[in-house]
Amino acid sequence: MRSSLIRQILILAALALIPGLGEAVYFRQKISWQSSIPPSELVTVDQARTWAGNVIWVDARPDEEFARDHVPGALSLNEDRWNELLPQFLAVWSPGKKVVVYCSSLSCNASREVARRLRKEAQLSDVFVLEGGWEAWFKKR
């Protein structure tokens, strides 16, 4: 009885592998296996600085951290107050401007989430995530 149960589990596990592998091939261009952010959506501090006046900095950290310090001219846009802050951001945004979103450090997720929502919900293109986040910018300022 136990061997029959194990056999059933193995059959189901193997069956699920087939479409799973197919999907991995289908989505290979849309997802990176190395980093949670595709390289085309990442930008370094040096690269972002070359965009000079053509960039809007977006601070995805919580309000307290933004209040403490932030990239000069950056707008606060975090998920806690998304509905309240998004209109303020959209009022400043104009087509052709690049958007660079940052959070605390290399390991934080907030910038990735905010960038994703800006692309998906606000239908913006040219939205990038700052590699290394606030820490990287702070070191190079």
Binding site: Q8, A16, E23, R112
Partner: protein, 167 residues
């Protein structure tokens, strides 16, 4: 006037057949109820799996938010787990590989519950990726209650289906 032996026999036969038909009705009712639970649980997993299979990028990101696995493992799980849920759901509907499907689903729900609790303990503010965007604003208690409810249904199905169906 006392009944003849034949009359007594026929009375006890009537009682026996009455008991048997009551027990048949009970069995049929419990089978129908079990089937309903089967289909509800299967529907939940097929729906949850399909939603995640349609957007594996988002699901990988949801898994990554738990900060348990490195990114490549999150991606692999995002491609694999939704299909495992879908296949197990269909196995419950078709009653094929039935106990295998129940075992996998119980293990998955247990794992989801444990990682949710672990995330809460570690102070991570995560969105539940269980049902895609539909579950994005779920609170921790509702997330936990859903998981425990599904787990309870799976345990009921496991216990009430003692005799395994052949492959």
């Amino acid at each position: 006037m006392s009944k003849t032996p034949n009359a007594q026999l026929s009375t006890s036969n009537v009682q026996l057949s009455g008991n048997a038909s009551t027990s048949n009705v009970k069995n049929r009712t419990s089978n129908i109820l079990r089937r309903i639970v089967d289909l509800i649980v299967a529907g939940v997993f097929i729906y949850a799996g399909a939603i995640k299979a349609l957007d594996p990028v988002q699901f990988a990101s949801d898994i990554d938010n738990y900060k348990i696995f490195p990114w490549p493992i999150s991606v692999a799980l995002a491609f694999y787990l939704p299909w495992l849920e879908i296949f197990c759901g269909f196995a419950l509907v078709g009653r094929l590989l039935y106990r295998g499907a129940l075992s996998i689903l119980m293990a998955l729900v247990l794992m989801f519950t444990l990682v949710t609790i672990a995330a809460k303990v570690r102070g991570l503010d995560i969105t539940c990726g269980c049902f895609g965007h539909a579950s994005q604003n779920w609170s921790f208690p509702s997330h936990l209650a859903t998981n425990l409810g599904i787990l309870a249904a799976l345990v009921v199905l496991w216990v009430s289906n003692r005799s395994p169906k052949p492959l």
